[in-house]
């Protein structure tokens, strides 16, 4: 009985060893992870310029600079196509969706954004500009 049990154990161990070897040989067929978004992106280039824009879903446009941003620098946004005497809401969030800055500005052709650097760590941030019924999101990197 005991011998039979030992034999069975050896067979089982051998079987799993073979599985391991087979598994090793088939390693790397694919990957099964994912992240943000949906595996899709698009940029638009206006010929004769060097800038890029997101999809022109709205009538206003925003360019931010400097990018990358360093500590204690002021982030500026150039805005075109806004409605005069109105407000623009600026929201900055990190890549896991945590908002680190929200402020409403009187809209102008250029606004200065003093970010709370104590809340920022090195990485990529999303900055969105909501104006009237439209919203534009840009991305910038922050180097401490």
């Amino acid at each position: 009985m005991k011998q039979h049990y030992i034999l069975q154990s050896i067979k089982t161990a051998t079987f799993f060893l073979m599985l391991l070897l087979l598994s090793t040989t088939i390693k790397g067929q694919a990957s099964y992870v994912g992240g943000l978004g949906g595996g899709y992106s698009m940029v638009e280039v206006t010929t004769g310029t060097t800038g890029i824009e997101d999809i022109p879903n709205s009538s206003f446009e925003v360019i931010i600079y400097p990018n990358p941003l360093s500590k204690n620098q002021i982030l500026k946004a150039k805005i075109n196509g806004f409605e005069k005497n109105s407000k623009i809401k600026v929201v900055v969030s990190n890549m896991i969706g945590l908002q680190v800055f929200i402020q409403e500005f009187d809209v102008a052709s250029e606004i200065s954004i003093n970010l709370p650097f104590e809340k920022l760590s090195k990485g990529i941030y999303l900055i969105s500009f909501q104006h009237s019924k439209n919203k534009i999101t840009r991305r910038f990197s922050y180097n401490e």
């Binding site: 992870v33 992240g35 943000l36 899709y40 010929t47």
Partner: protein, 506 residues
């Protein structure tokens, strides 16, 4: 032996999972003569091609707006020497010049941090006022044998004596060597063709397939390059409808969105000015907010809508044989199996970070089952989540094949979320030759490639993989998510449904 196979499958799954993500981004684009320089990045690309596995790649194609305001497809050079990439990327031109594939060259898996590439057009770029570059993440499925049919599912394909078929080449198949197993008694299945020609894509040769189902923002970007007349054909409401009109939903149930947020942002005019479309997934009247569901799978697509997108993007439909190859890979069939290779499923029903780029669910699959968005009417006494989730909702940087609900080669949501249109093994479908789109639609907004199955009558088209509303019964019965299931082969899927979407290949 069956237990041994199951254990082996489990081992393989454990060994081959990797920590990968997408986050595909294009940026910093410039035009220099006929060359477009741009930055591209995506997280944790993979390349196991040398090991006989798959690799991911990005399909890049370019459209230009001419001085008349019409968007045209811009062909790219078919010679590698005319394109350039910094390491670790490599650029693979295609013979018809309709785009290029960009992929990580070295074996393994790793992030592609922001990397500059340049691609050369064959037409004069300065003739266009605007250029748009589109990027779609794809998976390159390797050449190789696979099993067709699982030996159990309703109306599934088997050989003449009722066993799954080992597909060993792209050679023509005599219809007499095929049969239908467990035929649907309620609705007799579509009859099999007498002959499947060499040209019909059978999944043996390598091919590319979209890693994710077509997303709503992808469809929005597509609509925003069409004429008024073409938009009219590709949406449910006239483009001159008021701003805020949801464009794809059932006109007779305009408030039933089923998590589709494609809306008219700026109305078109009957004189011919196209509308501008945007996303409003949270239905608050503000477009393109962070939680507007941009990356949710596109539902309410008809066969005509999907094929128009694929022709426009210079891709093509996939066949039902390719669908099974993507899911099953090199493994033995499992009766009633879903995309992740087992016959059990956990329903994804409770979204978190709803509508954002982070949209996921709170459910964790029970051991041995995969996570998928499907119907839940039996278990909970209700339909649960009524609509689609983000393309890739189940996958994060630690998921395995079950947790991400992935197919063998890492393709996502092949089971659940949205039904996917495929070319059926049938007399109409067998005419399909795998020809790719050329980027140009007809003036009415229809795909116009030969033998793609008629965009209006959808003869020869089969819906695969089930959707958010699909309930699951026992193996061998109604089981929409099962990869070999052909319960609805009798249907000619012509109309927009809240459950229908799809993806393409090349």
């Amino acid at each position: 032996m069956q237990k041994a196979i199951i254990t082996l499958v489990f081992f393989q799954i454990l060994v081959i999972c990797q920590l990968l993500a997408n986050n595909l981004t294009l940026g910093k684009a410039n035009i220099n003569g006929n060359t477009i320089e741009l930055d591209i990045s995506w997280d944790n690309a993979w390349n196991y091609w040398q090991q006989g596995g798959s690799k991911d790649a990005v399909w890049l194609f370019v459209k230009g707006k001419n001085s008349s305001g019409v968007w045209e497809h811009i062909d790219l050079s078919i010679e590698s020497k005319n394109h350039y990439s910094m390491p670790p990327l490599s650029i693979e031109p295609v013979s018809d010049g309709k785009g290029v594939f960009v992929y990580a060259q070295a074996s393994g898996s790793y992030d592609v941090t922001t990397t500059q590439i340049s691609i050369m057009a064959t037409t004069l770029i300065s003739a266009f006022t605007h250029i748009r570059v589109f990027a779609i993440e794809m998976v390159h499925i390797p050449q190789g044998e696979y099993f067709l049919g699982d030996g159990a599912s309703v109306s599934s394909l088997v050989d003449a004596i009722g066993n799954p078929i080992l597909i060993t080449s792209e050679r023509a198949i005599d219809g007499n060597s095929l049969s239908i197993l467990n035929a649907n008694e309620q609705f007799p299945p579509e009859t099999l063709p007498t002959f499947i020609p060499d040209e019909f894509p059978k999944g043996y040769k390598s091919f590319y397939v979209m890693k994710y189902e077509l997303s709503q923002v992808q469809y929005v970007d597509f609509l925003n390059t069409l004429s008024f007349l073409q938009q009219q054909k590709r949406t449910a409401f006239t483009p001159s409808s008021p701003s805020g009109t949801f464009a794809m939903v059932n006109p007779y149930q305009p408030d039933s969105l089923y998590r589709n947020g494609i809306a008219i942002s700026v109305s078109g005019s009957v004189s011919g000015t196209p509308a501008i479309y945007a996303m409003d997934g949270n239905a608050n009247g503000i477009f393109n907010e962070d939680d507007d569901g941009l990356h949710r799978a596109a539902n309410f697509l008809s066969w005509g809508d999907l094929t128009a997108y694929l022709d426009w993007a210079a891709l093509r439909p996939i066949t039902e044989m390719e669908f099974e190859k993507i899911c099953r890979g090199v493994l033995q069939p499992v009766a009633g199996e879903f995309a992740w290779g087992t016959s059990t499923v956990t329903n994804a029903n409770n979204p978190v970070n709803d509508g954002t780029v982070f949209e996921a669910v709170s459910e964790v699959p029970i051991e041995g089952s995969g996570l998928a968005n499907h119907g839940n009417v039996v278990a909970n006494g209700g339909w649960g989540l009524r609509g689609v989730l983000r393309a890739g909702f189940a996958a994060n940087d630690t998921t395995n094949r079950f947790e991400s609900g992935a197919a063998f080669y890492g393709v996502m949501e092949m089971s659940g979320n949205a039904w996917e249109y495929t070319i059926m093994v049938s007399s109409d479908g067998a005419l399909f030759t795998g020809i790719c789109g050329d980027g140009i639609l007809d003036e009415n907004g229809n795909a116009n490639q030969p033998y793609w199955c008629n965009p209006d009558n959808a003869f020869g088209v089969l819906l695969k993989g089930g959707a958010w509303s699909s309930t699951i019964s026992e193996v061998g019965s109604w089981r929409d998510l099962a990869i070999s299931d052909r319960f609805y082969s009798h249907i000619k899927p012509q109309t927009r449904r809240s459950t229908t979407g799809g993806r393409g290949g090349r």
